[in-house]
Symmetry: D2
Subunit: 301 residues, 4 copies
């Protein structure tokens, strides 16, 4: 994502003029403010604003639990306790606002997370730029043969080249036509709200996206997961790095209990207990379906 | 939207087998159940399920207001009272589920209404059909010269033909390439989650969309409005006709207070009062900006 | 909860007049419609309406996954798959509306679940009935000495009697005063919106509460849990029995994966793996805090 | 609301140590941070944190409308345009977090606004303080004879005294009994989650409440309205004064278009047009019900 000199100047200016505030300040987050983290070939992720830090979570929890919370020795222990017991409201007391530039097909998946505030660039109102996502060669994967919504081996040789050529040429042609239909030279020019329909789903859009930390963690749990589509996962991973700097204690708890955690069904608990007791359990004696058993073995061997 | 014989058979079967229920039943809505209302060139709108009717709104209001509500003479008066005073919770007690087939650029606008449940066809998981929205000639409008997000005069002659040719050819070509990239004949075949990025925004998708009546009214107020883009407005208008059959009293109140209503600012109230008192008010003496005054005159002359 | 003959007559009438519908019908749920299930001493739970059944969940999932879903052999397997992989949107396609009569202190906890529609009886508008929750003797528990928000042993003897006397007498006195302040005999009579402030939190209120199945499951996971306060748990348990009749496949999956399931942190996964490999792990070598270890041992011994 | 010296010291300390930030800063809001604004007899309202200012609204709108927005001459005009046309998402880009101490019956009304984050003091976990709302004599109003949910004339003389005595004595007695049941001297002591049920609805609770500016405006429109109950309206009015300092342009637009605005039904628009044309319209010829006409005349004479 090559920033224009103009954009870089804007960022530099915003970063050059600190002001005084009485609010909670996260030093780790201040370092990220406005900085454009590149994602994919033309995408970006920038923190525009934030509210709260680890201590804001603790403070909110102490309002809820009153004097009783004083017993908990320290902030880290309390934050881990809240995460472990699914006490989500104190995490909702932190808020973050990102500027994201992302391909439309990623935006379509992203927007399904409803508990967030969004201002997207309107192609009804304005004209989109000529920027399209073209996968890097190592991301050009075949359809998975075992997972309906997954990727298999990386394409190679002529097939890979053919795909890249198609994606590039179709993108350029459709954009040429978009511009041609919009043009008012020697013709009326099609309405923007109509012309945009010719643009493919790998064109970049951008938006401001604001959410609270609890809902951000939910987003990250699903989208930073190994099963998420690569093109959204890279945004989630970039966010993870930022959040780790913003609220280090909360992020560490999230990593342990959610990202690195495992959900067991009642049946799976029983199987593990039998195993711990020395019994050999097979799919047939587990009470699980073949699919469940395969997933169970994926974790527990 | 030509239904396949198979789809029509499915609808016929669902409609052929009434069952007994103790729930509230809206006769007007039963007539719509499963029936595919065509919208645009390949789109559709179908009611899949509903909960409640006009009397469910009244019943919920009577829970809230207790014995006091008995004073209100009839259901219509109570429903109009609730609508007039923005008492939205009784309307939330009705729910409706639609099956919608719609172009992706319409879906992108639609999904911004967050208080709804959605199951969309996944192009990550399955393969989209070769169906694209191509505007009818009378909808091929130029960019408005006065409104950044509006349409002007209809295109004609060669320009119109050129636009239609582009939209059709680009759609067909991109779909050919989509199929070509997916194909596993003589090659691995690109992952579906990647191949879809080549498809333009006028391809059709479909979803189940479920919401409550209050939020549906909010959607309809914005999307059945004359300023809404034509391609989403036709869905909203088709819904309006269905809702009028489902909850006739609530819809009539909605039509009077929302669709046909006008919001006045404090300044506009003052101007109207001065006019009623016989004074001639101009933009200069109104306290309004030029834009506001133009909109004000649009309603009041 | 002794229904008045009038109320019972209303329920009998509603249940006596089945009507025809083309919608999905759950036979198990039809049996519950309008029937008042007693909860606590004066509370109740009634199903007022519902939308969808197990097959509606499957149908919505098939819209999302398209032809791909046909591979899954049956509805039960698909529903279990959806639950296991946190695919929540198909469950949102079912909706239910309850009439609940409950003590105010329970209502205050309940309302924290925000994704629901509510119409509560308004004590600003109408006059509350003289009905208060008085715990049964076996529910009169002491403060837990180990858990700040839990109960310990049941009170007995004189202390129990003293508590019951206080609760009953204070309730009656405050209600007498409420009526006295409202009375317009020989005085103006205090506004209802003010008089209600004298009523204690064990007075009963009532509401219509409507939510979708996904959010209902979330509610039940937290409120049917052994750590939930008894007075809300009995409502959740009554709901569990109803939901098991409404959507038996979804409920069975919920029971296995959520109610009976266990969430493991990354650390806990490591400890279990070490144990399975024959190692003896102690709190000191587990990397867990004492609190976590105690909870871990509570499940795994 | 007499702050304890301890609380005042905490506030003073928080206000004494400004830090540097690169975020948007609202000077008007910085002056309010942490300051306890007294509301009612023991309540308070404090700003704990905020995100964004007027320019953040403008910035978000410019992301949406792209280059097109540059045409709008200034921030004030753009913000008024957004408010006038119900473009709510840019206002959602500002966020605020309050600490509120309020009577329980006010909290019960307040919590019905669902789009907010809340951490309330837990009487299940901790012990509530002996603080109750007792209305000032001039707020001791009789039930309205024309409005089921309104107040009439102020009570006077003996009746007023009787009400105040009841409220004070019942509050003190119920709190004495609360303490008595909790006490562990010479007895086990009732669980906190049970003992709290004896406390009346005028006891004070407290919470952190966080919401975005769009939803805050919605709250204020309903709760700063003349028809709102006095005891919640005073909180809304205190918020209005704070918001006016935080985002002066947005607040001015809100005041003109919402607080001071009027919604007209289609019928009312017709009547006004007929009046402007010189016609005399009566309720009979207006097409409105008596109730509507009364409300219409209340505004337009």
């Amino acid at each position: 994502m090559p920033l224009t000199p103009e954009q870089q100047a804007e960022i530099d200016e915003a970063r050059a003029t600190p002001r005084q505030t009485l609010r909670a300040v996260s030093e780790g987050m201040e370092r990220h403010l406005y900085v454009a983290h590149p994602v994919l070939d033309h995408g970006l992720l920038r923190v525009i604003d934030y509210m709260g830090d680890d201590s804001a979570i603790v403070q909110a929890a102490r309002v809820s639990y009153g004097r009783g919370t004083k017993a908990v020795s320290n902030d880290e222990g309390l934050i881990r306790y809240l995460m472990r017991h699914w006490h989500s409201t104190p995490f909702e007391m932190c808020e973050v606002k990102f500027h994201v530039k992302l391909p439309v097909f990623v935006a379509r998946q992203w927007i399904r997370h409803r508990t967030a505030n969004v201002n997207e660039y309107s192609a009804r109102y304005s004209i989109l730029d000529r920027e399209f996502y073209i996968p890097a060669p190592e991301q050009l994967a075949a359809q998975s043969t075992v997972n309906n919504q997954g990727r298999g081996a990386v394409l190679s040789g002529e097939e890979a080249q053919r795909v890249l050529d198609i994606l590039r040429e179709d993108a350029m042609r459709s954009y040429d036509h978009y511009e041609g239909m919009l043009s008012q030279e020697g013709q009326q020019g099609l309405a923007r709200e109509l012309a945009r329909m010719n643009l493919p789903a790998n064109i970049y859009t951008q938006w401001y996206w604001k959410t609270d930390l609890h809902n951000l963690f939910h987003f990250l749990r699903l989208r930073a997961d190994a099963h998420a589509q690569y093109e959204i996962r890279v945004y989630a991973e970039a966010m993870c790095r930022i959040v780790a700097d913003w609220v280090p204690l909360a992020y560490a708890a999230f990593e342990d209990y959610r990202l690195g955690g495992v959900s067991l069904s009642g049946k799976a608990v029983e199987v593990l207990k039998r195993r711990l007791a020395g019994e050999t359990v097979t799919q047939e004696t587990s009470g699980m379906s073949k699919g469940e058993w395969r997933e169970f073995e994926g974790v527990w061997g």
